[in-house]
Amino acid sequence: MDKQKGRGRFVFFCVAPATILFFIFVVFPTINVFRMSLYKWGGFSANKSFVGLENFKNLMKDAKFFQSFQNTVLIIALVTMVTLIFALTFAGILVRAKMKFKNFFRVIFYIPNILSMVVISAVFSAILDQRNGLLNGILSIFAGKEVSISWLGSQKTVIYSMVIVLIWQAIGYYMVMYMSSMSAIPESLYESADLEGVGPIKQFFTITLPLIWVNIRTTLSFFIISSINMSFLLVQAMTQGNPDGGSEVFLSYMYKQAYTNGSYGYGMAIGVIVFTFSFGLSAVINAVTKRDVIEF
């Protein structure tokens, strides 16, 4: 079949458009992030000046940057741990236990995933609102007096509010993912464990978890990448970094510097750090969680 005429031309015309667009809109801007981090440039003016690593040196002195760093790390750690535990537990229960309404729960839990971040932030702004919020409304009923906590307005609570929103948003997605890899495990393994009198909780830890370990490892990288990304979208739509940087995260600070503030080079330096950080963290976690692959 290699002899047919025009094979080369066919291959070229199939691959070229995708390759060209990919280079223009993904590869080139990515390279630009790295290159421009070495320049001092406002973005709109013509004068760019090469400053070497000065942007990075300034970053090290930037308290706001460290605040966004801290917030991001906190979000990644909390969201990953809580979501992972909940998603695995619920997936394990829904796949293994003979439960009613199994499918109903799966359908409901996935809903946050189809919602726009704009909708999510509007909903949670309404829930967490200090005066007319649903949450303070419930708390008032239980406390028997007017509760007026400013969930999004205080430095202490805003970041945890965001963590809860992000967990709420992510659980269903990961649960569905774990469910599909769990249901691929052959029933016979559980049957023989049943015969030997191994309880369901022990089965979960000795059969289910080791067999979907590869899948869990993959999702750990997803967690890192998507926490960084989702927290940015949430900040953009819900808090804009308020109060006073209390909810600022990596990419929202980058966007603020590069776009709103007009220090493009400085913003890109943040981008480089975020890039390196997320890749480095993924690599470390990947190495730490490496186990021999168990096949079934």
Partner: protein, 293 residues
Amino acid sequence: MKSSKTGIILGKTITYIALVLLALSIIVPVGWVFFASVKENSEFYRNPWTLPKGFHYQNFIDAFEKANMQNFFLNSIIVTAIALAFLLVIALPAAYVLSRYKFKGQKFLNVCFMAGIFVNLSYLVVPIFLMLSEADKFLGKTFGIKQLFLNNQVVLSLVYASTSLAFTIFLLSSYFKTLPKDFEEAAYVDGATYFRTMVSIMFPMAKPSILTVILFQFLAYWNEYALALTLMADEKKYTLSVGLLNLMNAQKAAATYGQLYAGLVVVMLPTFILYMLVQKQLTQGMTAGGVKG
């Protein structure tokens, strides 16, 4: 034996309670938005837990007419549709050839696209914006064209499609790889050209994974706003999400709650309808890309 039985019942009860609580935490807020969208403005200042007094559909009329939602809605449909069309036309042939033909540079391209999966659109928003604004400046200087790349729905769609190419090609390729070679060989024996074989034999066979791509990317494009917000400064070109975001910020001052919630329902409804229609495909399609454990 007896104690283990009560243990099981207890465990089951606890799990049901946990599952129901989580389900409620999703149903209540989403349902609340639907209820809030038909409340009158004065109702928002009372207890948020009360049900709407009547069906105040005026909110929807206001949202469409006063808050320009009809315009934004149309823009979102246009951008999403064009982006999906771009994506399929560009990604399908590429995925097919990359997965089933051997040629020079194939490995390199596969590695490139694979790496592209890990590049997040959020990093690229500002660089893409500046690239397009520089291109506009250049065109303005040399040809006197006012503005071509920014505030252009087709360009926005093209950027959407381009930035999701890597993932889509990965998803489609892994499906094409599983198809046996016999089909193509038979087609060549019958004298079909490469192009015909691809379009009328291989693409129809990839229908399930094409559907998965359409579903996922529809949601992604329909809900996206960081890029749309940055590239489309012209209010007439806003997509629904950006328009809503504006309304949300305006609402803090103007208190047009009813319109806001009506707008939220408008942006949610299409995704809900789609979800109900293809819920199975969507929750199972996640493994179609070969992320099997």
